[in-house]
């Protein structure tokens, strides 16, 4: 841990309380630059809270979240966030939704137009610029949210169970798309999921959390070549290993 922490993109060393409730007890985690880290844990272990802390929109009770060595602050760091819930702004069309982050960061108009066009092409939504949220399917809306996150060229992308609301085929397609985008653009990604298969399929590393008060139970490198085959022997072995870790603290299957 400490060796990795030295050149870490993100460095978390916190305890966090929510009122009387101890959410994190001495959580210590470092994410390397351009790494794809998946965070898994039982429902209600505070995964979303952890991403809010990463993004700097919530402050830990004690300790610090450092990005490139300075405390996380969305006004200073270039962070993107794909939310679990539908987060497309209904009063803006697709184009303006994707442009939101860029406009907040006051990028010049020509750059905004170019980035929006690029990222929409990347997620396969070219031609839908003028559409509003209610005219799109759940999968398309989530792709708009992903495009918005990638448009700002953020160097830290946080994803909170982004595919949980999608059906299985769309979900698999989106997983491949995100890997594809990540491979082409090389960013640091922290991806929260409660689906171990998804975690092993996507991550360079899988971090497994316990229930509250939340600690890190396991931190596993996934050294499988990409694209990964979810039915291969190594894949299933690793997935089973993660499941054991998760169940060990749980005393039973999670799902």
């Amino acid at each position: 841990m400490t060796a990795a922490a030295a050149g870490a993109k993100v460095r978390v060393d916190i305890s966090h309380r929510y009122g009387e409730l101890l959410v994190y007890e001495k959580l210590d985690l470092a994410v390397r630059e351009n790494e794809f880290v998946c965070i898994c844990g039982p429902s209600g272990c505070g995964k979303t809270t952890l991403l809010d802390l990463f993004a700097g929109i919530m402050k830990p009770s004690t300790g610090e979240v450092l990005i490139d060595g300075t405390p996380a602050d969305p006004k200073k760091h270039n962070i993107s966030f794909v939310f679990q819930e539908a987060s497309m702004l209904p009063w803006l069309n697709v184009r303006d939704n994707v442009a939101t982050g860029l406009r907040i960061k006051k990028r010049p108009g020509a750059e905004v137009a170019r980035k929006v066009e690029e990222t929409l092409a990347l997620v396969g939504l070219t031609g839908f610029e003028g559409y509003y949220a209610h005219q799109l399917s759940g999968g398309m809306k989530q792709r708009v949210a992903i495009a918005r996150a990638f448009a700002t060229d953020a160097d830290l992308i946080l994803m909170d169970e982004p595919f949980v609301s999608l059906d299985q085929p769309t979900r698999e397609k989106m997983q491949r798309e995100v890997l594809d985008i990540w491979a082409r653009r090389r960013r640091t990604v922290v991806f929260v999921t409660h689906n171990l298969e998804e975690a092993v399929f996507l991550g360079d590393r899988v971090v497994i959390l316990s229930g509250k008060p939340t600690r890190i139970v396991a931190d596993l490198e996934v050294n499988l070549p990409r694209p990964r085959d979810p039915v291969s022997e190594e894949f299933t072995r690793l997935r089973a290993h993660c499941a054991q870790m998760l169940h060990a603290i749980h005393g039973g299957p999670d799902e």
Binding site: P74, I79, F81, S87, P90, W91, I104, H134
Partner: protein
Amino acid sequence: MASVTPDIRPARARSLGGLRSVANNAVTIVVFLGAWQVAAMLVNSPFFPPPHRIVDAFVRLARNGDTMGNTLWQHCWASLYRVLVGFAAGVVLGVPLGLLMGLMPRLYASTRSVLEPFRFIPPIAWIPLAIIFFSGLTRFAFLIFIGSFFPVFTATLVGVARVEPIHRKVALVYGARKRYVLTHIVLPTVMPDIMGGMRVGLGAAWLTIVAAELSGGTSVGLGRMMVNYAELLAIPEIVVGMILIGALGFAMNEILLVVERRLFRWRWQVTL
């Protein structure tokens, strides 16, 4: 890049004010007038004039003005002007105050014991005080302000609570400041509620103007005109006043509706 964006809006949203609905309404008007005519013929009393006598009275008023020489146009404009001034004051104060109270729930919670009871004092109950303290335009504008303020204020206040925490978060993660959240997240969310409140407030404004004008203090205004003719038992002229009030209120409401549909296309297509 040629973006193809076919119009997939539902037909009903596109044709809300369409030809078909205009034709249907024309039929409704004809049926209404026919029923009126038949009823007037059956009753056959000078106190129940048929439609054509209302038209006659309208032409007379429009051509020659009333008994005191005020034209119909002056009456309409006087009422309309008072409504616009008072209504504008209600919006200008109601929206910011609603936003402030909505964004600071604690401030609202600790002041509502004074604020809320005012909502239940009807504008008409303010007429005696208004007669004592104000005269002319100020009196009418004040009463209309009272009538239109609360619908706008309350709609704005309630609208702020509708802001989705996730939308605020979207802005915050990209480093947005409070001002941006207010102008780009809160306002777009609340705008449809504000417009709805404005339409309710407008109804209240018309309700108030007639009552205020009936209570005197002016020689022009549609309410005043109606009282004058009531003293002469001239029923057609009174009905002309009533129809004009209805028509003016309807026209203003339609204008607001058109603006609403333009601005909130994203919302109009999902409601209804």
